[in-house]
């Protein structure tokens, strides 16, 4: 800046360096009350100090989003450069001139599901992601993972967090076992071979359509976004949300956009509309090892709306703290939210 402005700020660069030095020292594991007092004093010196500090603190907190890329890899090892070039989080972008993309494209073979597997296996070291063998091919995702698996018949399966499916395509039938989690199916039309999804003892049959099946223990939820599927004996059309528990089946008819929103995890979001907090938290908990819970039924009943990144639960916790004046008590692997 020109001279006449210089007394307003000591210069962005110098301040930023000081702020980040404080942040890193606070994070060093050797932080004392005396050190905190010195930091407080520094922050209190001027608002310029405080905003510079908040900015880098927000950046470092936001960088936790990188955890989405680390899901499933073994702690203590660093994935190679560009290992996430084909991650499902990155849709191809015309503007991405980044070196990541170039490198990844060179390395990744043509078949996209294999690209995904390759990227994940690189990150995992040796752990398996895709097993070929009986009965059928097995695919799974770690906590926080989302992956698209194209099948030979032209269908696609999108796996949500912590999901496991087995796929068997034969001349009579296309057969998928959902062993755990949630998957969205885009079924290629083939009247000669029905597409059958089994979730526990429930069967969902489609010919050419789009729908998702989620399994939580023995509970099964089916959401149809295109065409018709048969859930056990009931025909479900687009916009249907069906929930089955033991022998009971509840079918709700929703406008299509609402049904689509339930499946917004495919785009990397959770979408809530006047959803009870307890329900929203159990959605988050499917995506994170860290579990967030409501302390009591009143807290769990608070209704929330919005779009959130499922692996970014810290941000969600901060938002509900601010928005509803909730208190959060956090330990190593759980956070409990309460009113006061």
């Amino acid at each position: 800046m020109d001279g006449d402005d210089s007394k307003e700020t000591p210069g962005h660069r110098a301040l930023q360096d000081e702020a980040v030095a404080w942040l890193v020292r606070r994070d060093s594991g050797e932080w004392t009350q005396a050190a905190q007092a010195r930091l407080d004093a520094w922050l209190a010196t001027s608002t310029a100090h405080r905003v510079a500090f908040l900015r880098v603190e927000a950046g470092w907190e936001g960088a936790a989003r990188l955890k989405a890329l680390g899901a499933g890899h073994s702690p203590g090892s660093v994935p190679p450069l560009g290992a996430w070039g084909q991650s499902p989080f990155f849709e191809p972008s015309p503007r991405s001139s980044g070196s990541i993309q170039t490198r990844a494209v060179e390395r990744i073979p043509r078949r996209p599901w294999f690209a995904m597997a390759a990227a994940v296996v690189l990150a995992l070291g040796a752990a398996a992601y895709f097993h070929r063998g009986e009965p059928g091919d097995r695919y799974n995702t770690p906590i926080g993972g989302v992956a698209v698996v194209p099948l030979q018949d032209g269908s696609n399966i999108t796996l949500s967090t912590r999901t496991e499916v087995r796929v068997e395509l034969n001349a009579k039938e296309r057969r998928i076992e959902l062993d755990r989690g949630e998957a969205f199916f885009q079924v290629a039309k083939d009247p000669t071979r029905p597409f059958v999804v089994r979730a526990g003892d429930k069967r969902i049959v489609a010919v050419g359509t789009q729908f998702s099946v989620r399994r939580t223990g023995d509970d099964v939820r089916v959401v149809v976004t295109e065409g018709t599927v048969r859930f056990e004996t009931v025909a479900l059309t687009a916009g249907s949300v069906a929930r089955a528990r033991e022998q009971d089946l509840l079918v709700q008819r929703e406008p299509l956009p609402v049904a689509e929103q339930i499946l917004s995890w495919r785009q990397g979001y959770l979408t809530f509309h006047d959803t009870p907090l307890g329900e929203a938290l159990s959605e988050f908990n499917r995506y994170n090892a860290h579990q967030v819970n409501a302390a009591d039924p009143q807290t769990a009943a608070i209704q929330i709306s919005g779009m959130f990144r499922p692996t970014h639960y810290e941000a969600f916790v901060r938002l509900v703290q601010d928005g509803y004046g909730l208190k959060a008590r956090t330990s190593a692997d759980t956070t409990v939210l309460s009113r006061e």
């Binding site: 980040v20 900015r55 936001g62 960088a63 989003r65």
Partner: protein, 198 residues
């Protein structure tokens, strides 16, 4: 910072810093000298924070850009050298807030991509330190042991990494701005590397 500032601080990070990219793009359009942008941004943050400490604005983003406009106007009045002709784009001073950043609502995966690119652009040891500390949440001392460097060195890596990732996360993605600012970063960072404190 368990004082009453905590919620203001949280608010500031979420409602103000989050718009940093849009703010920088606005400043680049509205102010003739791109070298001033980071300092202007800092001064705008100060004004917004101090105003919000008295009364939290109802519409934070509009308030941020109104504050920016007033600050630029003040600067223009004080610096008589700068004629109004020198202003990069006078219309930009009156542009609607929502028009500034149609792309601001970047999808999560785009933010993640910016972060991943910034991560991969870090020097190897710096990248390792950032990953182990941020993603794996391994304590700094243990990171130092894993990488076979001193804790001081890890601090240095993290300082650099945090600044880069912060810029990637919030910063202007304007191609006119980035190379210039990056160059400054480089000079600065390399200088520090040369006289490493580690």
């Amino acid at each position: 910072m368990a004082d009453s500032n905590e919620s203001l601080d949280t608010w500031f990070k979420r409602e103000i810093v989050a718009h940093e990219g849009a703010l920088e793009r606005y400043l680049l359009r509205a102010w003739p000298n791109p070298h001033d942008v980071l300092d202007l941004r800092q001064d705008i943050y100060v004004r917004v924070y101090e105003a919000a400490a008295k009364a939290r604005p109802y519409a934070p983003k509009s308030f941020l850009f109104t504050t920016a406009r007033h600050l630029l106007a003040d600067r223009l009045r004080r610096k008589r050298i700068v004629s109004i002709d020198a202003v990069g784009d006078p219309d930009a001073l009156n542009v609607l807030v929502e028009d500034l950043s149609p792309e601001h609502r970047t999808a999560a995966h785009q933010e993640l991509r910016h972060l991943a690119e910034a991560l991969d652009a870090l020097p190897p040891q710096c990248r390792n330190a950032v990953w182990l500390r941020r993603v794996d949440e391994i304590p700094q001392k243990e990171v130092a042991r894993l990488l076979g460097v001193t804790p001081k060195r890890v601090e240095k890596h993290l300082r650099k990494g945090i600044l880069r990732l912060t810029a990637a996360l919030f910063g202007s993605q304007d191609p006119r701005a980035v190379p210039r600012l990056e160059t400054q970063h480089e000079e600065h960072d390399e200088g520090e590397d040369g006289h490493g404190r580690g």
